[in-house]
Symmetry: C2
Subunit: 189 residues, 2 copies
DNA sequence: GAATTCATTTGCCATTTGGCAAAAAGCAAT
DNA sequence: ATTGCTTTTTGCCAAATGGCAAATGAATTC
């Protein structure tokens, strides 16, 4: 829980009473490997925060290939924003890649907190724009680089993830085949 | 100006007085082809709205290649958010690709409006998250597709842009060379 | 520790894309 | 029309990546 408090206080100040209100609403949960935090075709109902483990967000493209859009590791927020905010069906699966421990807020509690803690609104907005900008900045440069550079970028962005997840997920994140990724790893050593 | 009002009212309601306050702060400007709306190394000072023309956001990667990150065409907001919000130097150039007509707000005016028009805050937050999510959703899928599919995606996303801008910009947006793009176009016909 | 299952690497060859330079096409000014 | 300039297309070959199947390795269960 401390990790979460530290995280949100990066984005603005709250007094102890406000922090208490927020933490009182936070629940802890475990999400076993391969299970879903939220699913395509459904409306996201929760905001989560990863205490332990790795999550991935993925979808299926027109050819039916499974594409990993990004990973979320420790001390990061996990929420399908478009679905959660606008109450529309998601097109992505949010799935535990390892056993995970999460904090989470129900949509009802989350909105209630926004109503009763005015400075919380500004903090959430900063977090949201930070998280989204980060996603653009991480994913976008992959388009213009070759496979080796992409893999190096992955290692930089997610330094603590590579040894905990299947290579096939990394390959689908990078937009290359698993065999190519394997060969690239051989060359880098 | 009407285009801008229509745009913002999609995201929430404002009364006439509030609309007047906002429009009074909006200025019009022309941005000739190739000139910059904001530049790498500087702090973004304006929020813009494209009335006419096409803008692109680009940067230089480690190899010195110029990469187009995205385009912004008519009736869309143009702002280097991370730089504008956090007063940090941008790493991207925001450049007119054709002669442009823009509305714009200075940072001072923009912040003032946020202070005095309470519902405007919520609208801006919705716009920001919409714009950012759109950037992720547009750019991200390119990573996993082949060059022909990428080009088709570009055409879908920016249907009114292809005939107005140099192919080299499109190629750099798609992460392929201009000659490859040219060959792809030949095959598609 | 053998057997089973799953993840990763490798080999082979086909396909796609890149790099470079020249040719062709389009455009604007004279 | 002609010239000069920029953009786009092409040709040629090299390099990168994909597709598929088999082999290897690692982890798990009995």
């Amino acid at each position: 829980m401390k990790a979460f408090i530290d995280y949100i206080l990066q984005f603005g100040d709250l007094n102890q009473q406000q922090i208490d209100l927020i933490t009182k609403k936070a629940e802890e949960m475990t999400l076993p490997k391969d299970e879903y935090f939220s699913e395509a075709g459904k409306i996201a109902q929760q905001v989560g925060f990863v205490l332990e483990g790795v999550i991935r967000v993925c979808y299926y493209n027109n050819k039916g290939e499974e594409i990993t859009k990004y990973f979320i590791d420790e001390n990061n927020l996990v929420v399908d924003l478009e679905s959660f905010n606008n109450d529309i069906c998601s097109n992505a699966y949010v799935q535990a890649v390892t056993d995970c421990k999460l904090l989470f807020f129900s949509k009802k509690d989350w909105k209630e907190l926004l109503d009763i803690i005015i400075p919380w609104q500004a903090i959430v907005n900063k977090i949201v724009s930070r998280v989204l900008i980060q996603k653009v900045e991480r994913r976008s440069p992959l388009v213009s680089e070759d496979a080796t550079t992409r893999y190096r970028m992955f290692l930089k962005i997610y330094p603590n993830v590579i040894n905990r997840i299947p290579l096939s997920y990394v390959a689908s994140y990078l937009g290359i085949t698993q065999s190519s990724l394997s060969r690239i790893r051989k060359n880098i050593r």
